[in-house]
Every structure is written in C-alpha cells, then in structure tokens.
Amino acid sequence: MQKLAALSSQDSNYRLSIEELMKFHYARAEWSKFFAYAQYYRKNFSPDSQSRVALLEPLALLRHCQYEILMPLVSSMRKKHPRWSQELDQVMALANTRFDGKATSSPEGGALKLHAEGRTLWKTDADIIDRKRDKIHPRHISIKVANKCD
C-alpha cells in the first residue's frame, strides 16, 4: 500500500491507486484516512472516470449515521451518475432502517494513540483538498467524521 500511496499524480495508474487505497482503508475501518481519499477522489476525478468505488463514500456516511451529509451527497450523485440509481436507492432505504451492524466501530483510537504512533495532526481548511490533484496527496490528510449512531 505504501507503493500505491507513493505513485505520482502523473502516473497512468494514479486513479486506480486512489481507488485501491479507498477500498483498503474502508475494509480496515480507518475512517479518517478513508474520508480523505473519498473526498479527494470525488473532487479530483471527473464523474465519467469514476468507478463504483465512489459508492463507498455514501456507504461510509451511512455507517456513521451522518444523514445530513448523506442526503445531499446521494441527491447530487443521482444526477451525476444515473447508472447508480439502484445502488443509491438501496443506500437511502438503509438510511431509514435500523439493523445490527449498521453502525461502524471506530478502531482508530484516540489522540494519545495517534501520538504514540508518531502521527501529528495539524488542523487545516477543508479546501486543502482542491480540484488540483497534484496540490496534495490524500495520504497527508485525515478527515474526522463523527459517528452519530446510537
């Protein structure tokens, strides 16, 4: 995964590397890294070039019960990706139900754990992930999203 994260934005496999890293962090429930990659992917690749991996973002928001963010995201994705209407309908249906396993656990640990791992976080503006893909790589970004599930 380190080699994937080291790929240059000029590399022909750059988009694929971002997609693989999205899946990797989603599978490991590393949400702060996943949301960084997910927002970067949505903002920096045209809708026509995006794969179904983009659907992981609304799924992750669903699992955090972040409905106020999920609704506008799904609404906009319907317009940009009409081919995904069925999947987005399923996401919205799940948003209105309760079931075991919906809420995610958050094994990332607290601030002290991050500190012990040698990871230092500096608060920055949301627009650091900009449309210019070569501005910054998402491996340098963490986006914390609160888990609002009971």
Partner: protein, 196 residues
C-alpha cells in the same frame, strides 16, 4: 420535514464535488520524533551555592531509542571560585573557625530524556522555529572536593534535567534549561546539533 439548514445544504451542494464535511487535518507522520543523534554543549552557572561562583561546561550526547525517548551521556566540568559572600565568610578561618565549601569538580552521568511537547512557529514565512520540552534524569559519578583546595573524592549521584530546545534549522538550534545533581543546581544556555 426538511429543516432550513438541511435545505440550504441541498442547494449549496448541488455539485457533489463541492461538498465538504468533517474536520480536516494535515497529517504529519513521524515528523516530530527526536533526532537519531543529538549533541549539545552549554554554559551552566550554579545557582544553589551562595558562597561559590560555579562556572561550568556541560556536554550532552543523546541517541534516540524510541520516537520520543533518548538516552546517552552527560558530562559536566565545573570551575569554582569564591563569591563575595564566600570570601567574607572565609575570613572566619583567621579566627579559628574552620570553613569549608564542598564543590563539584566534574561528573559523568547516564542521561535519558523524554520529549513532552512540541510547538511550531512560522516567523513571517521566513523560517520555522520548533520548540521541544525535554525532561530527563539519570545517575552517574560525581567527583567533589571537600573544599576549594581540598582533597577530592568520588561519589554516586543522581541527575535531573529540564531543557527547552529551540530548533531554528533542520540540524541545529539553541537550548535553555536547568539540571541538578548532588553537587548543586545549574542553569544552562547552549547550542545543539542533530547529527542524523
């Protein structure tokens, strides 16, 4: 029912590319670890003895053993003279009183430090100053004299230290701090270099 805020969010986020959420952080990995090797040299003045002026040089070599913990050796070399008060009290020797001023000569200590805090300041975009607070301790050998010109002897002594490092360059900076052992308490000011 859709709340007003929710409706505004819908309008504002018509383009999914523009939808921002969450708290965004720039993540730095292993950027604030102690350097692998650090060497510091400082001038230290004794502050715990009113009858002696203690001027000394202290050298501290540290090797990182874990991200925020280092260990190494500290050497301390002291030059002692009578202070004004000491000279006055020393005149009691002429009256039959025996006045002695135990003074440290040199010491060598094992010294381990832990990095507690980090601050970074951007100075007008010209340079960055990184500040670390390190506390440490150890044990070692201290050679002392019973008196300024008396016989010397060695003893085991503790060591404690507190140091504030100001790194003005990737490889170097200056430090202020204090330390103490069985020979007294000292305040120090000096320079350090990160060798690797």
């Amino acid at each position: 029912m859709i709340s007003l805020g929710f409706a505004l969010l819908l309008i504002a986020a018509d383009d999914p590319a523009e939808l921002d959420y969450g708290e965004v952080f720039f993540e730095e990995t292993r950027g604030r670890e102690l350097p692998k090797f650090n060497l510091g040299v400082a001038y230290a003045a004794g502050v715990s003895n009113s009858f002696l002026d203690l001027h000394s040089v202290v050298a501290n070599g540290q090797v990182r053993v874990w991200r925020y913990i280092s260990t190494g050796v500290l050497g301390h070399f002291v030059h002692s003279t009578y202070s004004e008060a000491g000279q006055e009290v020393n005149t009691l020797n002429n009256s039959g009183y025996i006045v002695r001023y135990p003074t440290p000569r040199w010491g060598v200590f094992s010294h381990s430090q832990i990095d507690l805090m980090l601050g970074r300041w951007n100075i007008l975009n010209l340079t960055t100053i990184q500040v670390d607070l390190l506390v440490g301790g150890g044990v070692g050998l201290l050679q002392k004299r019973n008196d300024l010109n008396g016989p010397s002897h060695s003893e085991v002594s503790y060591l404690w230290s507190a140091e504030q490092r100001f790194q003005v360059h990737d490889l170097a900076g200056f430090s202020l701090g204090g330390f103490g052992h069985a020979g007294g308490v000292f305040l120090e000011a000096g320079l350090f270099a990160n060798l690797f």
